[in-house]
């Protein structure tokens, strides 16, 4: 197995941290919409997963998103910010990361375009997070569950589009250890 560079690890930690913090920053704004729709969330998580998708797509390593979600999980547990999931919060953090890794690996294998890969990875990760939260905490059913999942899917897709924009801005700065000439 090829060793991962320290710089990549730092980048992964950075994206994990920024994703973790952004979720708490955007929550009050996202709650305005989710409270209106009477669903328990879905938008803030999609936004925070966007950074995991950017990091995983940039580093291009298997398990990158899972590693970032593990870091987020450890951060949340150590800071006591586990929310309503309590001791089951590791599942809530790890599931989206694993799903993002699977979707990105599948897209890489199928040579899917960057836009579709990042959008579908973000949407799938957001959907996985919503399903996990529903299974552990909310136990919603029927129309409310369908709306919750749709909100998660749509906001995941939109944040995935935003992730492609961020990725395009960051990509020129990231040279993966190669010189400009090698690139």
């Amino acid at each position: 197995m090829k060793a991962i560079k320290i710089r990549n690890l730092i980048l992964l930690a950075f994206f994990a941290d920024i994703g973790f913090v952004s979720k708490h920053l955007i929550a009050p704004f996202a709650n305005v919409l989710t409270d209106f729709l009477r669903v328990p969330g879905g938008i803030g998580t999609a936004f925070s997963l966007m950074f995991l998708v950017v990091g995983a797509y940039l580093i291009q390593r298997k398990g990158a998103a899972s590693a970032m979600s593990l870091v987020q999980c450890i951060l949340a547990m150590s800071l006591g910010m586990v929310g309503a999931m309590g001791s089951l919060s590791p599942f809530g953090y790890l599931m989206p990361g694993i799903v993002i890794d699977i979707v990105l690996a599948f897209c890489r294998r199928c040579n899917v375009s960057q836009l579709i890969a990042m959008t579908s990875a973000n949407a799938a990760g957001s959907l996985a997070a919503a399903l996990t939260a529903n299974f552990i905490v909310f136990r919603l059913r029927g129309a409310v569950l369908a709306l919750y999942l749709l909100i998660a899917l749509i906001s995941g897709g939109l944040c995935g589009l935003l992730a492609t924009v961020i990725y395009k801005r960051i990509r020129p700065l990231y040279r993966d250890g190669k010189t400009a000439a090698e690139q």
């Binding site: 729709l37 009477r38 579709i116 129309a143 709306l147 749709l150 749509i154 897709g157």
Partner: protein
Amino acid sequence: MNKKTKYILAAIAAVLVIAAVILAVKVRGNAPEQSGLIIQNGNNTVTVRWEDLSQTVFSGEIVNGKGEASNHEYQGTELIALFNANGIQITADTKITVTSEDNYTVELNGAEVMCDNKVYVAVTRDHEMIEGIDGNQGGQLVVYGDANAKRQVRYLKTITVE
């Protein structure tokens, strides 16, 4: 990405958004307005209507942060009676968190709530309706015996029993 793929993706996105709007209208139409005091006890949530809380008339001295005492006549119910009526068992160690509509939070313990004539939920004060944050009927937590009025929570919304 060719034009056809773009159209397909746009169509999928449009279908999802339309479905979300339809579901949102349906969910908002079905959801009952929760007007009243919400009591959360573990996984059980009970909403008690404000009009069901005016069982007792009580009064006593409340001291504010400046040390000024005031005396008002309230109508409401003792918190322990409210718990008993809803089948909520508490002990001296039970933690009770009271949250207002503007997210102001105070804590009580089971021993205080079990103490006679100490903790009440009031719906009228001096024969006037206690307003909620929206100007309609609301409630207030009244705790006698405190050195200041910090736990006289207005715009009462939720009582969580842990």
